[in-house]
């Protein structure tokens, strides 16, 4: 009856402190799958779908800049797993590059402008995923 002023600490959640994930590790099975999608947030999962559709053909399925189309390209697509290649690239640069293409940020025109195919929210999803790829290495 006289429930004290409860706070967030009186109900410890079952999840870890990591970002709330759309994880396959739900209650019906005790083991999680070993796929890469296990610990991605909702936004990162959406980003991964879009990345696979539009970006992986040049930038590679793992973001290493080694997609099958990279063979004939010069300069090669950027390797997101290489910290030196990604040094100093912040979210705003990523947004501008993806939206306006290489030509829009004074780089090679071989990078297309995706602002006509993806809206800002979708490009932000992709950026979340790319940042996750960066973080994993």
């Amino acid at each position: 009856m006289f429930s004290r002023c409860a706070g967030p600490n009186s109900h410890p959640t079952e999840r870890t402190a990591a970002k709330d994930s759309v994880s396959i590790k739900d209650s019906a099975t005790s083991q999680s799958t070993s796929t890469q999608a296990v610990n991605l947030t909702y936004e990162q999962q959406q980003g991964k779908i879009l990345y696979t559709k539009y970006c992986s053909v040049c930038h590679g399925e793992q973001g290493k800049g080694d997609g099958f189309n990279a063979y004939n390209l010069d300069p090669k697509p950027r390797d997101f797993t290489d910290p030196r290649a990604m040094a100093g690239i912040d979210d705003a640069t990523l947004l501008a590059t993806i939206t306006e293409g290489g030509k829009g940020v004074n780089k090679s025109p071989l990078m297309p402008a995706w602002g006509g195919r993806m809206n800002k929210m979708e490009i932000e999803y992709v950026i979340e995923y790319v940042k996750d790829v960066e973080r994993q290495h």
Partner: protein, 647 residues
């Protein structure tokens, strides 16, 4: 009098205490603690965040008849600064829908009016729609979105695709799915050999890992009886007869045989069977595996089937190739030399049970084989599974969990059922589909989206009414014979593996179209599926080409393009330097592999179409990843002018 006033005093005080209980309860609410803690949390943040007023917060969605008080504790939903905070204060992920318009429980389930932790989260007892675990959240999208490709809901789309392909409607009534074509079993005794059939019935995936046929977990005895039952059906459908194998198949020497096999191999390659059939796991996925097919069917059946597929397998979506008899014999000879199962498991010698027909028929009916496979001899009632039209609203307390130890919620039940159907009951008949964990989650999401909730019509997104264009006349006969719509869409009907032909004559030049039927060279080297060579006669090509040229035209795509030198040169500059088209397209051997090479595009495509395509690729082919560069008309004209000079 004194005693009475004493009683009065005691009762008054007791009344005051009792009256005070309610405001005290309200003063010490659980959610107030969360709100105070939130205000303390945001005070420590570097960004300025507006502190929350202490009080219940609710979203009243009138149209959906819901009141959601989740925001009372989940205060940081709209604050970007709290993106890394602990729950319940974390920012809500960016989504398409506005939280004010939809509320929370519409997507998440749970008891919206609750303001205490234990009444909101998890399996609240007797609440009909408990909160959905995160993995199944996309099922809520499916409650309103009934169209084929729901944006931003990949798990739901995958699940619905799996439910459609696995042909669940063969046993269960579910709205929104159609029965898939499945080979009929008439005449199966003249088609397959018994050993293959018994092995297949025991484990279909061992022969063909991509098969949609589930495993019915038959005992050895049941498999034997069922096979014996099926092998009695030797009459070919439609009272047809087998044509004999041509004389060229009887060869006198090994070199003759080798020549025949060589020829067959070349023809097999030109026919591009691999566009639809997989061979040892590689190739198309819509037809059966051919890697071991001659250990399954006999040569005479194979020859006759390729000659006239629809006679031996009614309604099969396989085209009829115009092979000559000798050519087809060589193809069959080639297949017999390559597509053999060298590891086929031989069975112990078997004497059929005298009652095998009756026993086999009983097994056939019990497992509802007729739900998928047509067998004319079998009529009468077959046992079906439960109706799944409103399975998403099934109450957890109505489910029998048997002896299992899984969490007693509807999503857990459905997922476990889909993965291992017979764990809940010893008498269950549902077969095992061999889904992976992710696939089972996807199927569960698709099933959960079939709820009995009444949602206002303006919220529901219905699938576009499917046009049903059936071409008529000579053209129509050829289209049916060649099953063009297995890979092409025409006026809204068909499957989009290749191109949409509805505007083909405005897209490709007429002389190119006719030449393409004769030599269907590969336009996109990276694709598995390629247009087969049907070995059509010139008359047939003319019928097809003339119809396409006259009917599949869209006048609004016409455009005259100037090709003066200045415009062409400007187009060249745009192509290479501004838009970098060479990153995906090849010209003169230089460029990328993603799109088709553009070397001869000026003699293949119509200029008007090139212009409109460049202006908006997604409108013409949504699955293409060509960027939309938001070209001005002038830029598109220039690029088109440049491209039309490439002949």
């Amino acid at each position: 009098m004194g005693k009475l006033s004493k009683y009065f005093a005691v009762v008054s005080v007791a009344l005051l205490i009792v009256l005070a209980v309610s405001p005290m309860k309200d003063f010490f609410r659980e959610w107030k603690g969360y709100q105070y803690a939130y205000n303390q949390l945001i005070a420590k943040l570097p960004q300025r965040v507006k502190p929350a007023e202490i009080g219940i917060k609710q979203i009243w969605v009138q149209k959906l008849d819901r009141v959601d008080r989740c925001e009372t504790c989940h205060l940081g939903l709209k604050e970007d600064a709290l993106i890394n905070a602990k729950e319940p204060y974390r920012t809500h992920p960016r989504i398409h829908h506005d939280i004010q318009e939809f509320g929370c429980t519409m997507c998440h389930g749970g008891q919206g009016v609750a303001t205490e932790y234990k009444e909101s989260v998890g399996n609240v007892k007797f609440w009909a729609q408990p909160m959905l675990p995160g993995a199944f959240i996309e099922s809520s999208c499916g409650k309103c979105h009934k169209e084929q490709n729901v944006p931003e809901a990949p798990v739901l789309n995958e699940g619905r695709k799996l439910v459609q392909e696995s042909n669940c409607v063969a046993c269960h009534k579910i709205e929104g799915y159609q029965k898939q074509w499945v080979p009929s079993l008439d005449g199966i005794g003249s088609k397959v050999n018994r050993t293959w059939l018994v092995n297949w019935l025991k484990n279909p995936k061992q022969y063909f890992s991509g098969t949609k046929m589930p495993n019915f977990l038959l005992s050895d005895e049941d498999a034997d009886n069922l096979a014996d039952f099926l092998m009695t059906f030797t009459a070919i459908p439609n009272n047809s007869q087998f044509s004999p194998l041509p004389a060229s198949k009887k060869f006198s020497s090994d070199t003759q045989k080798a020549k025949l096999i060589d020829k067959g191999s070349t023809l097999f390659g030109e026919a591009r069977c691999i566009s639809c059939h997989s061979i040892n796991g590689k190739g198309g996925y819509v037809a059966t595996e051919l890697g071991k097919v001659t250990s399954k069917v006999n040569a005479q059946w194979l020859y006759n089937y390729i000659k006239e597929p629809k006679v031996f397998m009614p309604d099969v979506p396989m085209p009829r190739y115009r092979f000559t008899e000798d050519d087809l014999a060589s193809v069959v000879e080639y297949m017999q030399s390559e597509f053999v199962d060298y590891d086929m498991q031989q069975l112990p010698p078997h004497t059929p049970d005298p009652a095998s027909y009756e026993k086999g028929l009983a097994i056939f009916k019990k497992n509802n084989c007729a739900g998928c496979h047509q067998l004319q001899a079998v009529t009468g009632f077959s046992e079906l599974g439960p109706d799944l039209t409103y399975i998403g609203s099934k109450k957890a307390y109505e489910i029998d969990f048997g002896n299992t130890k899984i969490e007693q919620t509807l999503p857990s039940y459905l997922k476990a059922k889909v993965l291992t159907p017979r764990i809940f009951s010893a008498t269950a008949k549902m077969p095992k589909f061999g889904f992976s964990d992710e696939q089972a989650t996807a199927v569960t999401v698709a099933l959960l989206s079939n709820a009995s909730e009444i949602i206002p019509e303006e919220y529901i997104v219905r699938p576009k009414p499917s046009a049903h264009f059936v071409p008529q006349g000579q053209f129509g006969k050829l289209v049916k014979d060649l099953e063009c719509q297995s890979c092409h869409v025409m006026n809204g009907t068909g499957r989009l593996v290749a191109t949409d032909l509805s505007m083909e004559a405005s897209q490709a030049q007429p002389q190119w179209i006719k030449a393409y039927f004769k030599i269907p060279y590969s336009l996109r080297p990276t694709l598995t599926e390629r247009m087969p060579n049907f070995f059509l006669s010139q008359t047939e090509i003319n019928v097809l080409g003339d119809y396409i040229g006259n009917v599949f035209v869209v006048d609004s795509l016409n455009r005259t393009i100037r090709t003066d030198a200045a415009l062409v040169s400007e187009g060249r500059g745009l192509y290479y330097e501004r838009y970098g088209c060479q990153s995906c397209h090849m010209i003169g051997g230089k460029g990328g592999y993603v799109g088709p090479p553009l070397d001869k595009v000026g003699s293949r495509l119509e200029p008007g179409w090139i212009f409109h395509w460049l202006k908006d690729p997604e409108a013409f082919r949504p699955q293409s990843i060509e960027p939309d560069n938001k070209l001005t008309d002038h830029e598109a004209d220039a690029l088109t002018a440049f491209l039309t000079t490439l002949r």
